[in-house]
Symmetry: C2
Subunit: 319 residues, 2 copies
């Protein structure tokens, strides 16, 4: 095959890794962590270099009992300068709770899939976003920053692949109510690298002034490949969760969020700065794994870093 | 961040996936497969669309007892037109055994790492390649195609990262003795996507007439990301092993070869042709997993394909 003349890819010099483990990682775990354990995890991850941490969710405690103590978690955590402590909210009441505990950042969620949005929120995605107009107004009046997450941006368990036009329609709705930071989310692990590249380029080209984030689960092994595709499309914010907790809501025992330590290790090997102390993140991930009491989908916890291997054994591989 | 003007990546329309499970996957398994089971796996994978299959290894049976029946495996498998049945050989005697059982393709292995090559083969890599000159001569006289695999092309457990200059030196040695098909191999799972892109471009630009192959293990979760990087650098041949068997020779319980079914699923989702019947490959992988008697690092065996999920559950994900 002839070698094409083409410009090499532009790797980012730096990316922001948002830690979602305290929320997306823990919300579906069987283990019940104590308030102190949650606070310890969050305080350790902020000290290790996280700049954005999703600390919990103001959701109906009957629906998600693991998040019932989010107010108290938010009250107790150390607030480091320059770190955004973000909480998931579903209505104005949730946003008021965020404000009451001094959180300055909240995330709204509206699915890109029409079917999924109707089943989940009782209305199509564009209307679900419009229903958040009161939140946007409240946030603006209180100086709270809102971000918008758009799950099923790539694929939906009801509709299959979601067309980019549908994603752009939900994006436009979010921008309409004043949200300036958006995440294309792949909770079901259906995104592939080509699609991630194409969708990321399209949203960035259409809305270059929006801060774009990508959220991948490693359900089908493509998590880090999708990050690479996102990097090449110019996105520089990625969610990840310590120890790779989180699972897939539709597949029992499936892999969860891409593991923070796996993503940071890849970035380090690629020469992409992240501001994290990887040793400490690995230690936190190991602690989180011990707390939930089962093995998790973290490659680095299993295999160690590249640098752990070098010189470690007096043997030779055979191919 | 401004959106750069740049050409979109060129995804390949088609890639060749080489099945290495019968050799790299099974050679370190505790389970002893019968001759019949090995033949069945190989015959099923060729019928499922594999165009290159590594059927075994002519190695000292004391060193790798699982490969002791490779002659008999090679005699019994069905030979489909257009399928290359490849065997790993370590010397002229091994190549003569390949010829005796009618195999038309053999693979030589020389590590890129000087330390590793000296420990493994008793000589530096360039000399180890030269020592295969008798094999190259014999292969040419018998019409057998040789390929060369270069493990530790990206990283070595003794030397850490291997400079591209060192890889190119080993490549040049292989070309010198007449080998026209080469594989950069990452058995230790230390390669990262940026390095894979850079090394792949460099070898392709330096030697555009060589057929290039990449071999990744998923030890640190970067397996499919590295494939994507290789694709973007213009490589269109990738090794993979059914069920993701294989492990890492230095890390107990580490993930092995990228799973054939995971790679094929990603390709299918990306619109990259592979000529495989994915349903049948998943069935083969499940069978291989049952034969070895333990869970394996296959995401698709755990989570199913994207298409399995759609419409499968009457629930909605929460982000």
């Amino acid at each position: 095959m002839p070698v094409e003349e083409e410009a090499p890819p532009r790797w980012p010099s730096r990316v922001t890794v948002c830690e979602v483990g305290p929320r997306d990682g823990l919300q579906n775990e069987k283990a019940v962590l104590t308030l102190e354990q949650k606070v310890e995890l969050i305080d350790r991850i902020s000290a290790a270099g996280a700049k954005i941490i999703e600390v919990g969710s103001f959701v109906n405690p009957k629906a998600v009992p693991r998040m019932a103590d989010t107010d108290e978690v938010a009250r107790r955590i150390k607030r480091l300068d320059g770190v955004e402590y973000r909480v998931l909210v579903f209505n104005l009441r949730g946003l008021e709770r965020a404000e009451a505990v001094g959180l300055r950042k909240a995330k709204l969620t509206v699915s890109a899939s029409r079917t999924h949005s109707i089943k989940n929120a009782g209305k199509p995605p564009e209307e679900a976003v419009k229903a958040f107009a009161d939140c946007a107004e409240y946030a603006a009046s209180k100086g709270i920053t809102l971000s918008g997450a758009i799950p099923t941006s790539f694929g939906c368990n009801f509709e299959g692949r979601i067309p980019i036009e549908q994603v752009l329609s939900v994006v436009a709705s979010f921008i309409e109510i004043g949200v300036r930071e958006l995440s294309l989310s792949d909770t079901t692990g259906m995104a592939n690298p080509r699609q991630v590249y194409e969708y990321s380029r399209m949203v960035r080209e259409t809305y270059p002034d929006i801060t774009w984030n990508l959220h991948f689960h490693n359900t089908r092994g493509m998590g880090l490949a999708n990050v690479v595709a996102g990097m090449l499309a110019g996105v520089d914010r990625f969610d990840a969760g310590f120890a790779g907790l989180g699972g897939c809501p539709f597949v029992p025992n499936a892999a969860g969020n891409i593991a923070t330590e796996d993503l940071l290790h890849m970035c380090q090997e690629m020469g992409v700065q992240t501001d994290y102390d990887l040793d400490e993140v690995i230690s936190i991930a190991r602690y989180a794994r011990d707390l939930v009491g089962h093995d998790t989908d973290s490659f680095i916890l299993r295999a160690g870093r590249n640098s752990d291997l070098v010189g470690s054994r007096d043997e030779a591989p055979k191919n």
